[in-house]
Amino acid sequence: MRARRALLFLAIVAIQFVGFEAALRTWGHSEAAPAFQALFVPDPIVGYRLRPNARTRFATAEFDTEIGINAQGVRDDRDIGPKPADERRIVVLGDSLVLSVQVDLRQTFCKLLEARLNRANEARSGRPIHYRVINAGVQGYGPVEEMFFFREIARAFEPDLVIETIFVGNDAEDAVAAAPRLKGSSRSVAESASESLISRVRRIVRHSMVLQVLRLRVVSVTDRFSHWLSPPEPPLQSYAATPAPRIAEGLQISRDCVRGIAQDAEAVSAPTIVMLMPARFQVDDADYGRLKQIVEAAGGTLVRDGATARFDEALAPLGLARFDALPALRAAPPGPDVFFQQTVHLTPRGHEIVADALEQFLRRQGF
């Protein structure tokens, strides 16, 4: 009797699983959605990258965008072939703040910058030079992946200028997490091919939205459990008055990676500049107040521009030009938000402001 009841319950669970899976696939657009996950493909060197020629639609309560990846594996509606003589190429490396799946391609600061440079050049000299700004941002990348991505893929785009975008909010942490990759401990292609039971399970989980969400729940519970066993560390360590030692380590790794990018770029005669991108709370007072309380409740002290200052200081010895997007975003006159509310990414208005400020910076620097 008990066994029969258990079977009945399992059958109901399975039927509802199919129902919820179908509902989530139909209406539940999120980064956990298989359609979004299909944008990525494993890469033996970088770890993963954007899947060449992938297409998907990404919609949430705040935005609804079509995302297209070109044959070279960057977000663009045109392929990148050999550079024509009249073309100047700027490659923008970075993470999700550069990729910007929240806005249409034409609204990204890369394409806005491209349009501004072409317009200004046309008006000024009328010379037949065309600028192309290549969005080489990939969701979840940190300085380590960006260095590998440039070395393995983006260097071939023949850049005339490389902009390495540092998200000051988490790039130090990302650099620490990806540091083993620098020592060549990434899995080989052969290893990736030999599938263990765990990786099979992982693949199944990756392809189911229901299982993806449940996996996130389990991760969150185990995280909380580990925090419960040892006192939790205040969040936003990159901004902490006295950050964990790994932040200094992350800054050093980031500096090494930016140096690596600059050297690789120099090898193809392209200068490199560094762009520092702030977190939303550095611009949004209400968000800052909320996070300050959370950090203080966890026993920490939040220094609002701490991470920007740390990255600025850490990268200064490289002697590269540095552009900080924070002052321009903070000085934005009252109007629509510059960051989305439910993500840490720029709104179309935020992209406009960054593109304007970046164009002025490039002009001032004589690029």
Binding site: R5, F9, Q16, F20, A61, V210, L214, S220
Partner: protein, 467 residues
Amino acid sequence: MVFNSLQFVWFFLIVYGLYRILPHRGQNWLLLVASYYFYAAWDYRFVALLAASTIVDYTCGRVLASMMSQPRRRAVMWISIGFNLTLLGFFKYFNFFAANLQTLFAAIGWHLDFVTLRVLLPIGISFYTFVTMSYVIDVYRRQIQPTRNFVDFAVFVAYFPHLVAGPILRATALLPQISHPRRISREQIRHGLWLIAWGFFQKIFVADNLAPLASHVFAADAHPAGVNVLLGTYAFAFQIYGDFAGYSNIARGTSKLMGIELIENFRFPYLVITPQAFWRNWHISLSTWLRDYLYIPLGGSRGSAWNTRRNLMLTMALGGLWHGAAWTFILWGLYQGLLLVLYRPFEPAFAALGRAGRAAAWVLMFHLTCYGWLIFRASSLRQLGELTQSLFTRFALGSIDVTTLLTPLLMYTTPLLAIHLLEARADDVLVVPRLRIGLRYSIYAATLYLIFLFGNFGGADFIYFQF
């Protein structure tokens, strides 16, 4: 330690494991230690207040039992009431009254320089002071015999499932269950587990997901259109219901697992058609407390019509003040009192309503209740005025916020209402565990899926903790 925390899950598993192997007296000691630990997990400094309230009221109960003189007995009862109200008044209302007195005197040119005390509100104080007061009053009225066993009494006051947010239990209901050995039936376990799951659903799926919607509309710098004020108020109505009913259900469920029955605190309050029925179904333990220890002693409905109205208004105003030290709470209480007063002459007419009339009355009552929640949720009288003005003068359907208000509101309330209707039709809040097996299992599985897939696991506090 909130119910929706991992800390509570471990706490309960350990306590329950020990509980099941201990004899009756050992169980009571365990409940006492666990309850004080549960309370100390918030702020150990306030444990002394809980202990003081327990000792004073236990002693008053014992003294009352040994006294025959009515004036002396009355004096002892007032000592207990005075002690509890002083505790409550100081910790809950001192800041409020001091600030208002300052404002009042400032208006006539006297600038009083009060010593500013940042009095912290001990969690659950409104609940356990009412529990202990009712005990002493019941002993005074000779409705119950005072307990001799101090441990039993201390468990009755501090019993962790109901300690910080109710239900406000009566000694008549709980003390005998603590004093006598308990047997845990399979049905109690089944019902208890369902109540816990359903409580988590109400809290994590409904309340915590609707909270941002309500906050969006009630934000200090928001100037929403009337239709969005209405949606935000609906969201808050279901948020506060999900939050509080969820807590009560988890409390009842955990208690059932230990063989102790707590009273129902909610019976589908949004499906009623009269203000009287609303208060019979919303926070039942508070409304019956106010009825038995305030409204009836004031004279209830025994005197003239005017006296009845006065008693209703006074009871509800104090009920509002019980929720917190703010004018909006008092205004909410007065509003509820006014609804009850206005309803009384129409009572026979409501009783005679046909199907269409009842439907119309339900729509009216639901919106009157929601307007009450608008008063309750407004951060100030000024905001209340602004939102009310928006509701009545800027109500344009075209400006409805479909994406961030309407769609999530429908998504998070529809499953709740479906179960609500099922329960109301059977007039049984525990109808789900009694359904036939296929339907029952379907509801169990869907509830778990909805919690884990769409629940907000941010671990937000329960609203009623602040009361």
